[in-house]
């Protein structure tokens, strides 16, 4: 079931009732049961895959790594996790490429296998690798199988993260969770925020973005810019919404998850962007790929650059089995490197120069990131070429595809969220929150705001594209 559906709301409600209703010693097992129900609602067969991998990782971590010391026993475990990912996600891609090369050499094309991708596989295999490495580096493994099963399968983080490290959740799983009104309130607010971002914002941006990237479309420059800006917003809202709902859902049961997003479009350097975008993934890349590579390549700075490129290339490939994703990753690698050279983090500066550098860093980052989104969203290299060709042939400022409403929508959403978050970052929100006026008015106004937000979510959820039934 999808997070943003009435079905999920019902599921959550029922599970919550039962969870806090039954005695503490059954709760974990019940959560595992609920999680597998959630996962199997897509395709029950994959429940076995998840279970099998979970048992394997738990046993491997508990006995093989712990008892037999580190590195050489670590690698087979990692290979098992990664192979599963590769088999399900990248077989088609690999065969396509081998076939392509074969055809170029004069041979016949291979038949491309169509393997159905288990949802969440990119996440739970990466989590598996993280677990094994952490245990090998000295982390305490999960002793009880049920604890590990919960760690792995707990549904809020199963399908789309956040990727949780064992140390962040070990104590929470081992110890009893206690009901707290605060947790319930926080969890519900987070879930509400997620629903709002997805149903009201991301889903309304989607049709306009799709129209720009359609094969038959001939976008001009303005259309492409709107499409790319729209997509950057769409993917942010979409993804951070899922994280919000995940974090909120987990909190209802007393579990604290790590954050995944920190309004990345205010970043003043590519480096800062990756510290605020999909934080648990970039943390994974940093700890399990980049740092080991950079440390092994110790010495020449050039090797560190290579470590960056390899890490980002893998990061790109993880997002999808296509060359456009790899190129996107490598593009970000280049951004990171050039960002470091152009806008080095340290060095004390005069405030005025500091602001200028921050501002130009922001512009540089935004342009770089959004060009990246163009690469990410286009379905193939051919599509990128097609779009550029179309843009070059059309007048620069005249929309070839978009109506004013759509352009206004994108601009409004961007400006609104940008300013809200800028004010947040500058501390104005905190100031307002502590003001006397707000403290008095808050208990009356906030529930109204939430009620209105729910109303807006319900109204915005009207299936396919919005239509304005007017005469023109």
């Amino acid at each position: 079931m999808i997070f943003t559906s009435y079905t999920y709301a019902l599921f959550l409600f029922l599970v919550l009732l039962i969870y806090w209703g039954i005695s503490a010693k059954w709760r974990k097992r019940f959560l595992i049961f609920a999680s597998y129900t959630f996962f199997c609602s897509w395709k029950w067969q994959y429940g076995f895959l998840l279970l099998g991998l979970s048992v394997f990782n738990w046993a491997y971590g508990r006995w093989v790594i712990k008892k037999n010391g580190q590195r050489k026993y670590l690698w087979p475990g990692i290979v098992v996790n990664v192979s599963i990912l590769v088999i399900f996600k990248y077989t088609k891609f690999i065969v396509q490429n081998i076939s392509f090369v074969n055809v170029r050499l004069g041979g016949n094309p291979f038949s491309i296998p169509n393997i159905l991708l288990p949802l969440g596989i990119s996440f739970f295999t990466f989590q598996g690798v993280a677990y094994l490495v952490d245990v090998a580096s000295g982390e305490r493994p999960f002793i009880k199988l049920t604890d590990y099963l919960l760690f792995k399968a707990f549904w809020p983080q199963l399908i789309a993260g956040p990727i949780i490290r064992p140390r962040e959740i070990h104590d929470q799983i081992e110890n009893e969770r206690k009901w707290s009104n605060e947790n319930i309130e926080y969890g519900l607010k987070r879930i509400l925020s997620g629903f709002f971002k997805k149903v009201v914002l991301a889903d309304n941006l989607a049709p306009l973005v799709d129209a720009v990237f359609l094969k038959s479309a001939s976008p001009g420059f303005i259309d492409m810019a709107a499409g790319v800006l729209g997509f950057g917003l769409q993917i942010y809202f979409d993804f951070s919404a899922y994280s919000d709902i995940a974090i909120g859902s987990a909190r209802l049961f007393g579990y604290r998850f790590p954050e995944n997003f920190n309004w990345p479009y205010l970043a003043t350097s590519p480096r800062e962007f990756w510290s605020s975008w999909h934080m648990t993934l970039s943390r994974w890349i940093r700890d399990y790929l980049f740092t080991p590579l950079a440390v092994s390549f110790r010495g020449a700075k050039a090797y560190m650059l290579l470590a960056v490129m390899i890490s980002m290339g893998v990061c790109g490939l993880w997002h999808g089995a296509a060359w456009t994703f790899v190129i996107w990753g490598l593009w970000h690698g280049l951004l990171l490197i050039s960002g470091e050279l152009l806008f080095p983090q340290k060095k004390k500066r005069r405030p005025s120069i500091g602001y200028m550098i921050k501002y130009s860093g922001w512009v540089f980052t935004m342009v770089g990131v959004f060009i990246g989104w163009l690469l990410f969203r286009a379905e193939s290299i051919g599509a990128i070429q097609r779009i550029f060709k179309s843009v070059s042939m059309a007048p620069l400022l005249k929309p070839q595809l978009m109506r004013e409403n759509q352009l206004i929508l994108v601009a409004t959403i961007f400006l609104f969220t940008f300013f809200v978050n800028l004010l947040k970052k500058l501390g104005w929100q905190a100031k307002m929150r502590s003001s006397q006026f707000w403290l008095e008015v808050r208990p009356l106004v906030m529930p109204l705001i939430y009620a209105v937000a729910v109303a807006i979510i319900i109204i915005a959820d009207t299936g396919s594209k919005a239509f304005v039934y007017f005469q023109f």
């Binding site: 094969k215 529930p447 109204i459 919005a466 039934y469």
Partner: protein, 362 residues
């Protein structure tokens, strides 16, 4: 918590507001009468104007027993300004004029209809022998070439018949080389339909939604609320950008191209299926300023005329057949594309006069 209190109040408010909302939505669609209150007379056109078309297909006269003529187009086909009791729409007038000769007319119009939708209507009608028309008339309205995408009820129509979806796909592949933009759009429509099917076909979700729609006023009224809200945004936009009904709206090149291809595809397919397509340029109010860029409009009419002449398709320009007196007003000025009851009658008479030989078998 107070949250529940506020939500309760909102819902009470919506409960009382619902009827007003529904009426205003119908008004915006320029619907003539409430869709389900046609009383004793059998509907002779899609009264839901594209909102619930599937429910009206059963009123289409049996094509096996008489010569069936479909009239399609935008809101001009059914909207009547300053409506009086005895007023009828174009398709109803035509039906009256031709009934005696053994031909029946049924109207399938919707506001802001685009050419992809008209293609779908043709395919849906031709799909079954008892709804397959002998003649399909489509009135071209230039500003509709700015619109794209199928509306939800048409999507539902397509989705509900698997063999129609197959035909849609087959068609897209067949014409891929000739109409690359249109066929690509058709395939993408299909793709989004099958994704929707996966999402909404979750029967649990459907059941929950149905029950909630009945129990919670705001969920039941959300379509109307959404339409109202969009309407407010639309008015705001017009105010901010000083857009009036007479402000010139140029064509959007990519969409214009797409619609042109869909029209050509429609004509090709109609002929192939043995349906006679008839194209006409819709009447415009001679004394109202229209929002068309003159050069663009002229070249559009030339293009349509040439296209039909080359393919020997019946075509005529009915721009000037309805005199100024028969039009109405809109937003304080003359309405440039919706007329009064007289206008409907005149248009019907003109269509019958000019294309009679196709309507009546001798």
């Amino acid at each position: 918590m107070l949250f529940i209190v506020w939500s309760f109040f909102i819902n009470i408010g919506i409960f009382f507001w619902k009827n007003d909302l529904e009426r205003s939505r119908e008004k915006n669609l320029l619907q003539r009468q409430k869709a389900d209150s046609y009383g004793h007379t059998t509907p002779r056109y899609d009264l839901s104007v594209g909102e619930e078309t599937a429910n009206y297909l059963r009123f289409v006269p049996d094509a096996l027993r008489q010569r069936l003529i479909i009239l399609s187009g935008m809101s001009q086909m059914y909207a009547i300004n300053d409506q009086k009791d005895e007023d009828q729409t174009i398709s109803e007038w035509m039906d009256d004029l031709l009934k005696a000769s053994g031909s029946r007319v049924f109207g399938l119009a919707a506001p802001n209809i685009c050419n992809e939708e008209v293609l779908l209507l043709l395919l849906a009608m031709a799909n079954k022998a008892y709804t397959k028309p002998a003649v399909f008339i489509y009135g071209l309205c230039f500003d509709k070439f700015r619109n794209v995408d199928l509306r939800s009820s048409y999507e539902a129509l397509l989705r509900s018949e698997p063999d129609l979806m197959k035909k849609w796909e087959f068609l897209a592949n067949e014409y891929r080389d000739r109409y690359s933009k249109a066929t690509d759009k058709m395939l993408s429509t299909l793709k989004s339909l099958s994704e929707e099917k996966k999402k909404a076909n979750n029967s649990v979700e459907k059941v929950i939604r149905r029950h909630l729609s009945n129990l919670v006023p705001i969920i039941g009224a959300k379509e109307d609320l959404n339409a109202w809200f969009q309407g407010q945004l639309y008015l705001l936009r017009n105010k901010l950008f000083k857009i009036k009904p007479t402000s010139k709206r140029p064509q959007i090149p990519s969409r214009y191209q797409l619609n042109k291809e869909f029209l050509e595809l429609f004509l090709d397919e109609a002929k192939k299926k043995g349906v006679i397509p008839i194209i006409y340029i819709v009447p415009l109010n001679p004394q109202a300023e229209n929002p068309y860029v003159p050069e663009e409009y002229e070249s559009f009419k030339t293009w349509a005329k040439t296209l039909c002449e080359e393919q020997h398709i019946p075509f005529d320009n009915l721009e000037n057949v309805v005199p100024h007196a028969d039009w109405g007003e809109f937003l304080g000025g003359p309405d440039f594309k919706h007329f009064r009851g007289e206008g409907h009658r005149r248009t019907a008479e003109e269509l019958v006069r000019r294309f009679r030989s196709y309507f009546v078998t001798n």
